[in-house]
């Protein structure tokens, strides 16, 4: 390697995030890509949140005229699509990106440039989706876009085109990153980091990646059929020509139900790591928690038709999918009991990450139990497509996913930014979110049982639904206020937060053995792992239980300087270039053939230039003693 290699050492005080905009566009560092994912998700969280507030304002009273029917349909479609694909998935992806390599003792992900490609594809796909607001109208057929409402005849505008094209782009981004993380977790673990020693967050991430790999192809097939129907006159979903709209429902929910677990399992993983840290105990029943996560992922593929109990599939299908659905409750219950078992007998420290983790458990129980209710088809016949289901899914997605992800945000923020978040503001954020979400979503159970259908932009005064709707609207603004507190705390922390030590929470896993933020190369020395709690054992010695069979050794903190020279992958323009070609090819389809062909040409060129560019090149980042001494 060249002696001119420029070296930047984190120890000199230079931030790993320093560097101009060009360094961000070309970065292949998993930590920087994680920050890009996280920042994008937090921006879209504001967008989706504002959409939710407008929805709630419209429903605050009967016969409201704040927004019209068409605008309202666009708002709830975009709220759902944004929150699922542009907030919860990328916020989880940010944590996969940042934490998985640190938790398994790796220097980066398996395919650093593919990682960059995933992010840029995601970002451009999300922009394509949101351009619909400005050019041609946003999609308005709901986040699960049932055929044949999405057909050319009943949705002649461009909204559905934007939706189906951008979801295909986002799907490619998800699949690419799923391949990447699967390989990373399977192949790049440090010596001694056996599968059963992996932190629960890594385990649940692995299950999520497998779910993405298996579920996204189903929706892609569904979207390609839809695209052919709309662009090329096929009749996959057109009943007048012999097609079947119900086919879409199967394809969508074969994706859509695993997608629910794609959204919730990262939170399960976070909670399973946060609760032990703050109760100063190991995770109770660790193998049971792992295998129940796998069981949830597996069973998640056998329950899709519980979204279709009113479609009219008949008693046999109803029974099969009801039983499958009830089976999923068993491993989910096992997890909840083990979390309580983890707290039991601990020394629980009520820091913000713990509050969010416990809040997640408490709220997810409600979402899980209401899910058991409409897991029973007769009950579902009343609750389906009513506000009861809106209540249920928000207890799962907000109470479960959002609170869980915030537990992770508060837990790992010091590691990522090198600064602490304000505890006081964090607690305000937690309590307003908890009170606000219950004010918003709990009354929706009553509204649903009282016959209020979902996706209605207006309701009559005599329905008796006005009071609970007003309460829900007030609750939504409480949630909004609490979320605002988080953004204030985040800015405050970045500007003037207290500097974070490497191990602010007295953690047990490998990410706490290094400085905050970690150096660009992560591990100066490849760690050796002998336990599921390597850093805990280093600090506190072998536990009584563990010592009864084998003495487990801990893993010490990382040295300040790498003892050997480390070459890192060089920055590259081609992931961004390739992603741009792909997004152009998709978005171009809204305009004409020429931009599609141009996009494909850029895509193909990008793939070739990328393939023939060495991963490590002269001038790339090099660290270590030999580099500093000029080799």
């Amino acid at each position: 390697m060249s002696a001119e290699a420029t070296t930047v050492d984190a120890r000199t005080g230079e931030s790993i995030y320093a560097g101009g905009w060009k360094s961000w566009l070309t970065t292949v560092d998993h930590k920087r890509i994680a920050v890009l994912y996280g920042a994008t998700a937090l921006i879209y969280f504001v967008v989706g949140g504002i959409q939710a507030l407008v929805i709630r304002l419209q429903l605050a009273g009967p016969e409201s005229t704040l927004v019209g029917a068409d605008t309202y349909n666009q708002l709830f479609t975009m709220h759902g699509t944004t929150m699922v694909f542009l907030v919860l998935m990328p916020l989880a992806a940010a944590m996969f990106n940042y934490m998985i390599p640190l938790m398994i003792g790796a220097r980066d992900v398996a395919f650093p440039r593919l990682n960059a490609f995933s992010f840029w594809t995601f970002l451009l796909g999300s922009i394509l989706l949101n351009l619909s607001f400005f050019f041609g109208g946003a999609p308005d057929a709901g986040w699960f876009g049932y055929a044949n409402l999405t057909s050319e005849r009943y949705s002649p505008g461009m909204g559905i085109d934007y939706w189906m094209l951008s979801l295909q782009v986002l799907g490619v981004a998800s699949i690419a990153s799923a391949v990447n993380f699967t390989v990373t977790i399977l192949n790049m673990r440090a010596p001694g980091m056996t599968m059963m020693r992996m932190p629960l967050f890594v385990w649940m991430s692995l299950v999520v990646q497998v779910l993405i790999l298996l579920a996204f192809p189903a929706i892609t097939v569904g979207l390609v059929f839809l695209m052919f129907d709309r662009f090329f006159g096929t009749h996959f979903y057109i009943p007048a020509a012999g097609g079947t709209p119900v086919l879409w429902q199967h394809l969508f929910w074969i994706f859509g139900h695993p997608e629910v677990y794609i959204l919730i399992l990262p939170s399960f993983g976070i909670v399973s790591d946060v609760l032990p840290t703050f109760s100063r105990k190991p995770l109770f029943g660790r193998p049971f928690v792992i295998f129940s996560g796998i069981a949830i992922g597996f069973l998640g593929f056998g329950v899709w038709s519980h979204h279709m109990f009113t479609t009219g599939l008949g008693p046999v299908a109803d029974t099969a999918f009801a039983i499958g659905t009830m089976l999923i409750a068993i491993p989910t219950g096992v997890k909840i009991f083990n979390w309580i078992g983890t707290l039991w007998g601990g020394h629980i420290r009520f820091r913000t990450p713990l509050l969010f983790a416990v809040g997640m458990v408490a709220m997810f129980i409600i979402g899980g139990l209401s899910g058991i209710m409409h897991g029973s088809p007769p009950v579902d016949w009343q609750q389906h497509d009513s506000y009861f289901v809106v209540a249920h899914l928000h207890y799962v997605f907000f109470g479960g996913t959002v609170l869980g992800l915030f537990a992770g945000v508060y837990y790992w923020w010091p590691k990522v930014t090198g600064r602490m978040l304000d505890e006081g503001l964090g607690k305000i954020h937690f309590w307003t979110s908890l009170v606000g979400m219950n004010l918003t979503f709990f009354p929706m159970h009553f509204l649903g049982m009282d016959g209020m259908p979902r996706r209605v932009y207006t309701y009559a005064a005599g329905t008796g639904w006005a009071d609970w709707n007003l309460v829900a609207t007030i609750g939504a603004f409480v949630v909004g206020l609490g979320t605002l507190v988080f953004y204030v705390a985040a800015v405050k922390s970045l500007r003037s937060g207290e500097p974070a030590p490497g191990d602010p929470w007295d953690g047990a896993t490998l990410e706490w053995t290094m400085s905050s933020p970690p150096p660009e190369y992560n591990f100066a020395e490849t760690p050796e792992v002998h336990s599921a709690r390597p850093y805990w054992l280093h600090k506190y010695g072998p536990t009584r239980e563990a010592s009864t069979h084998t003495m487990e050794e801990g893993t010490p903190p990382q040295p300040d300087e790498p003892p050997e020279r480390i070459h890192l992958p060089s920055p590259s323009w081609w992931p961004l270039f390739t992603a741009f070609g792909f997004a152009l090819a998709a978005g171009g389809a809204l305009v004409g053939l020429a931009p599609v062909l141009l996009g494909v040409a850029i895509l193909v060129t990008g793939v070739f230039l990328w393939a023939f560019q060495p991963l490590e090149r002269p001038g790339g980042p090099v660290y270590g003693p030999s580099a500093a001494s000029g080799d």
Binding site: G68, N73, N148, T310, H347, V379, Q382, G451, P453, T463
Partner: protein, 359 residues
């Protein structure tokens, strides 16, 4: 199960009957009773549509189907409430009991798990779920088997953006948005759609079922309490999904017979009004049985004067509302397929009066 006892066995529920306009009439002749009831219903309609609360509650079913669902719901509800209380209490207790204290030793006892406990809390939920599964599966099969009784009333329900067509197959007439059924006789709905997927949901009659274009679903129920029951389309079906509402009238059998007899007889519209109807092009989409107006695109208007509501149970059927509807349908129901025909006030007046008399 009591929910599947013959309809005659169901007790009357006066609280619900009190709300029904039909009870206002105790005239012996079904024909006269019908007339009075209809007028009372029309008079009550604005009241029902504004202010005075109407129950949509799934917890107050008036059919065997609705009660069967409520039975399962009741069982599941109490089980889940029980689990909720126990688990949340355990969680809160653990948080309170094991909060860190200044005098704690450095590290708590490092417990890794307990296999027997794990087996216990795996089997317990499995057992509880098994108990829920039994009534679930029974009800799934029973409510989707052939309906009990010899002679169900067959009604074909066809969804349209954004209104409902009800074809009384055996009785030979078609109506829209307001369905009448007799108390105590099983009604079998055949559900389909002319455009996109809709879902038939009248919460007090029981669960919903989708109207899929290109295929047919069935749903049956036996109502046991007379009254007016409101419903909605429950599957997003486009711009005015929220405005696709319906009403079901459960009538005493003799009242129903009289209504059906009248519905099956041809209408005799006022001739000036009917001329205006033809001249305005209304007949391209709307039918008035017994006249040359045989449009099929929009709701059948043969007995429109009998209905309590217009525009898919959205507006009370009063001359003023009807006139406003004819003036600019889209402003009342966004996206509606009925065009603004730019009718003169004179013509609107003729049409409104003709439709008022179509009863």
């Amino acid at each position: 199960m009591r929910s599947f006892a013959p309809a005659e066995a169901f007790p009357e529920t006066p609280t619900i009957a009190e709300r029904t306009p039909h009870e206002l009439s105790d005239l012996p002749s079904p024909r006269r009773a019908l007339g009075a009831a209809s007028r009372a219903a029309v008079a009550l309609a604005p009241l029902l549509l504004s202010g005075c609360a109407v129950s949509y509650s799934t917890l107050e079913p008036v059919t065997d189907f609705g009660r069967a669902i409520l039975d399962v719901y009741g069982a599941v509800l109490w089980v889940t409430i029980g689990i909720f209380v126990v688990v949340e209490a355990l969680l809160l207790f653990a948080l309170w009991r094991f909060r860190s204290r200044p005098d704690d030793p450095d590290v708590p006892e490092q417990v890794h798990g307990h296999t027997l406990v794990e087996i216990g809390w795996t089997l317990a939920p499995a057992l509880i779920l098994f108990l829920i599964a039994i009534p679930t599966v029974q009800t799934v099969f029973r409510t989707q088997a052939e309906p009990p009784g010899e002679d169900p009333l067959e009604i074909r329900v066809v969804g349209n953006q954004w209104w409902w067509k009800f074809e009384y197959l055996d009785l030979g007439f078609t109506t829209a948005n307001e369905m009448h059924v007799p108390r105590g006789r099983t009604v079998r709905l055949t559900l389909t759609s002319d455009d996109v997927i809709h879902s038939f949901w009248v919460p007090r009659l029981g669960g919903k079922r989708d109207l899929n274009p290109g295929s047919e679903n069935t749903l049956w129920f036996t109502a046991d309490t007379t009254g007016v029951y409101e419903g909605h389309c429950a599957e997003l079906c486009g711009t005015s999904h929220a405005n696709m509402r319906l009403r079901v009238f459960v009538d005493e059998p003799d009242v129903f017979e009289a209504w059906a007899e009248e519905m099956a007889s041809p209408a005799e519209p006022d001739s000036a009004g009917f001329q205006a109807f033809l001249a305005s092009g209304c007949a391209a989409c709307h039918a008035i049985d017994g006249t040359p107006a045989q449009g099929r695109m929009g709701p059948n208007l043969t007995r429109i004067g009998d209905r309590t509501t217009i525009a898919a149970a959205m507006l009370p059927n009063t001359p003023d509302e009807m006139a406003a509807w004819l003036r600019d349908p889209d402003s009342l129901k966004p996206g509606v397929l009925m065009p603004d025909l730019e009718l003169s006030e004179e013509r609107i007046d003729l049409l409104v009066r003709m439709m008022e008399d179509l009863r």
